[in-house]
Structure formats: C-alpha cells, structure tokens
Symmetry: C2
Subunit: 325 residues, 2 copies
C-alpha cells in the first residue's frame, strides 16, 4: 500500500516515514496488515540526507495542483502533519490560514479524488484549547483556541470529520501534546523552548528558557510515542472512532522545574546549568493559554499510551541521538 505524508520533510514526518518502512506494514481497509510499498513525503524542504527509501516531493501544500501532482491515485494512507507552527501563524495571519486551512482543504479535496477513500490521520493540537478552562480537561471540553494556529487546527478537525461522514475519507484527528524532546534546531513554535532546554544543554550549548520554571507546566509526549500514536490511529478500525473523529492523546504533565531537575539527575548539574532564564512575554502569553492537565480515558480505552515518566523521555532522546552522558 502507498502512504503519503505531508510535512514529511520535518522531524516527525520523516521519523514516521522511516518507522513505517522499518515496520513494513499498515492495516488495510479490511483491517489486515498490508505491505507498505511506497512512502511519499511532501514538504517545502527536506533533511540534507533523507532516508533513501522515501520518495521526497518538494512543494507548497497550498499551491493548487501541487498535492494532486504528488499523490499517487491509489494512495491508501495519508498522514497530514504539515503546518505553519503556532508563533508563525500568529505572526502572519494570512500565511497561517493559507497553509493550515487552505492547504488542508486542498489535501482533503485530493483525497476525495483517489481510487478509494484513504485513511487520513490529521495532527491537531492541544492549542485547540484555551480561554476559561477547567483544571483538568477531558474528552468533553469544548475547543476554544486563543491562537490562529489553534483555530486552524480545530477547523481542520471539523473538515476531517465532515469528509469522513460524507464517505470521502476515513479520517482521524489527534490532538498532540507538546512533543519533547524534538531533535534539531529551535523553531518558531511557542513551545520550542520545551525541547530546547533539554536538547541544547545535552549538546553542550546554552539554551534560553523564556518562561517561569516553577509556574509553567507542559503537557508532553515523546517523539517515539507520538509516532506510535500516528500508526495506531491509522490502524484502528473505523468503528473504533464512530462519529467522534477527534481525540485528545495521552501525555504527561511536567513542570519546567521538574524537567530541569530530571536533566540534572540524568546528565549532571553542570549540564542543567546551561539553561539561561530570559522571560519572553510573547511566548509566555501563548504558553499560558495551553492546558496542562487532561483525563484521556477515551484514548486509553482505544489503546493509546503516554510515556512512563519524564526521565524515560530524556533517556530516549539520549539514546536516539547517541549522546554520551
């Protein structure tokens, strides 16, 4: 079966592509495993050395015809990860809507034209939530995003659900916690610091923490767990989703202070001391609107799982990146 990944040049998308090729199979329409014969990654840019097994297509999601040209007509699985990130969409309103809304619509339109309705896994975000919130969110909490990025993600969920109801796709939307530890470089996401304060010190460089460590909590999930979640979301039968196609993924709640204490414990005080506090009101204002505690019973019942604790998240990053500590 053929797989199509938007944002497939990004860290998570490319990792998903590699994992699918290593794994070699995904559930087919009848639920039985089918061999993965092709993985196409679509993105505006790719790593310098992409996995040679992956078909990389460079293009603009929001350019009419770009997806149509890149997606094989017999594509069976689509993972939609491409997005202008939170601070980026906040800084450029038009760009955010162009990519995150228009791009998603163009993708769904193309999916509708495929030989048969594909399974579509859409990456939404806990940025869907905001405003006056309960202390602990659950599956009944109404999205009330306080950023354009969050708004675009919620709209994407509704589009995926409507296209599913119409039978054009078999869609599933996952509201991702903040993914920690992301490898690579800081990006424009307001949550970029949450990985930076672990990643940079471990790489021997300083990192700026723009938020108050004691007062800031993060609802997070590791890269390997979220890639597992993408695949699990795809492989679940349609009936497991019913008419509720959007799901809050499990995660763990950790304060920035606990994150730094864990880093010190695993890698040493001298490593944790590479984090410099420099408050950024803009970042703080965005991060403050994100919820950090969830009850995710529905996801648990569907077989999704979070990391055991933050220490295992840090140790997984150290192993992935082959860091000597």
């Amino acid at each position: 079966m053929k797989v199509f990944i938007t944002g497939g040049g990004g860290f998570l998308g490319h990792r998903l592509a590699r994992t699918l090729l290593d794994r070699g199979a995904l559930a087919g329409p009848d639920g039985r495993p089918q061999p993965v014969t092709q993985v196409t990654c679509f993105d505006t840019a790719f790593p310098e050395h992409p996995d040679p097994r992956v078909k990389c297509v460079t293009g603009d999601l929001a350019a009419p015809g770009a997806i149509a040209a890149a997606m094989a007509p017999d594509t069976a699985a689509v993972f939609h990860l491409a997005a202008v990130v939170s601070a980026g969409a906040e800084a450029d309103f038009d760009l955010g809507y162009r990519v995150n809304l228009d791009g998603t619509r163009l993708l769904l339109e193309q999916c509708r034209k495929l030989a048969r309705p594909p399974r579509v896994v859409f990456t939404s975000s806990v940025a869907a939530f905001g405003g006056e919130l309960p202390d602990i969110l659950d599956d009944a909490t109404t999205p009330n995003p306080q950023t354009s990025y969050g708004t675009q993600k919620v709209i994407g969920e509704y589009l995926v659900t409507d296209c599913t109801r119409k039978g054009y796709i078999d869609g599933r939307s996952l509201r991702l916690p903040t993914i920690v530890v992301r490898p690579g470089k800081p990006n424009l996401a307001a949550s970029s610091f949450a990985s930076g304060i672990i990643r940079e010190p471990l790489a021997g460089v300083e990192s700026i923490c723009p938020v108050d460590p004691a007062e800031t909590g993060v609802w997070l999930l590791s890269p390997s767990k979220v890639v597992e979640a993408f695949i699990h979301a795809h492989d679940l039968p349609s009936a497991a989703w019913g008419t509720r196609r959007a799901l809050n993924l499990p995660g763990i709640t950790v304060s920035v202070q606990e994150m730094l204490a864990t880093l010190a414990r695993v890698a040493g005080e001298h490593v944790a001391k590479r984090v410099i506090y420099r408050p950024d009101p803009k970042i703080q204002a965005i991060v403050r609107t994100w919820p950090i505690r969830f009850r995710t019973e529905r996801a648990a019942a569907m077989g999704f799982a979070a990391d055991a604790d933050f220490e295992s998240v840090v140790r997984a990053h150290i192993a992935d990146e082959r860091i000597n500590v």
Copy 2:
C-alpha cells in the same frame, strides 16, 4: 452609521433591514446610539418590491471582489446571514463550502480592510450540534455537527472568534433555533416543514409534514424575536461577550403535534386538517440529529429572550401577514 447585511434579500435579512430603518439607530463603538444612515443588503436575489429605503446589491458572496465592491469602507455594522441552507449544502458539498466557508472568509477579509473594525453578527445554527448528545444541551456542549451545513456554521464561528481576538472585527455568533413561522415559500432547508405546516394551512393550501408529529420536536424562535436578537447581539458591548463569542439563543421546545394542536385551536380544525403526513426519510434523518432542549442561561443573563409560547408565535404570524382567521 452604515449597515451591511448579507442574505439581505432573504426573508430574515430584509426584515432586519426594515426593522433597523424603522428603529433608526444602533449602538456605536462607544455604546451610545448612533443614527443608521444607510442599510445595504447584499444577496443573489431580492423580493419583487424591496423596501425603497434599502440599498440592494445583487452579487455572489463567494466571488472574489464582490463584497469589496458592495461594502462602504466606513461600514460599522455587518450582519452575516447569507448561506446555502442545510439540505442544499448536503446535496452539493462543493457549493456549500464555497458559499458558507469561502464566502464567510471573503466577508471577514473585507471587514478587516474597513476604516475601523466593524461589529459583526454571524448567524450560526443549532445544526452545530449532533451525534451523541445529552437530553438537555447547554453552553458547555461541544458542537458535533452531522451535516456539512452545521460544520460550515461551526467553522464560521471559529473564524469570527479568531478575527475578533486579532482585533480585525468585533464579532458575535448566534446559534439560531429553527425560525418559525417563516413567510413565503418552502425552501431547501430540512426544517422548511416546521413553518410550512402552519403557514400553508393558514393560507388555505395543503402542506406536507415529512416527519412523525408525536416523535418530532422543534427548538424554535419566531422571526420577530430573532430580529430582536440580531440587534441586541450587535448592541451589547464587547465586554459582555468576552472570549466566548458564540452563543446558543433561547427558544421554545414544541412537538409537531403541539404545533398542529395550537394551529387547530387558533384557526380551527378545518385549517389544521390541511396538513398531510408523508414521511421523508432524508428529512427525518437530518432533523433527528438536531437537539430540541437547551438550557440557555448565558443568553438569558445577556438579555436575550424567547417567545412566551407557541400560540403567540402563531398569532404573531397571523398579525404580520394580515391573515383573517
């Protein structure tokens, strides 16, 4: 101040225009009443004899440039009523998204370009709700539409909220109950029968009831109450809305059976007997997804009001249309 009404050729839009001109004032940015100097109605079609005080502009909401050409740069109040109705949007997926989503975006884009951010009243719908629902919905119930129309309305709410947060508009979205009794002719809305079974018999003609009278309930509001609600929604200060820009309007819950009993009581058994039962599974399937019981405390606290009872709704229609009973 200048007022712009999309769907202003339709029954509600034109009635709103007339009411605004009769009333002569709307709250200005400082909350104090300002004289209404111009009411522009934008629509694809207009009544044969539109109110001569209204400026009627014929155009396609989703055609780029159409709204820009029609809307005065110093427009202060926008009422967005235009939409492809529920059964229409369900029958033609692309048309529904083109008008109800693309059209709304084009309208909001134009609002953003005005001399100062206008107040925008957006008409959403209880079609926002569906799927597994509690017996009584309230302000915390998460929209889960089971039609493309409902999906497009929810997306419109999120766009209005995001544009408000960004300071481009001062937006307010109202989730309308079914409006009963609409004058004029039946339309493609799945709810068309709810007015038809009162209006047609009173006009001396037969009307088809496509749903089971005992099992079908309707959450409804009269034309005069909803026009009052539009104006009240506009005139409330921005602070009254806060970050929650979408509101379930109050209404009353009436079974189709009670509606017909009321008609018989007010106009006579011979009139009520003009209703013919002819079940339509398509209409029933849509109507069944609509909720009929709400707690609307927030709207009540904000000063919105429903009709006293269904009899007053019928009597208002008889008075409006100058019917002899």
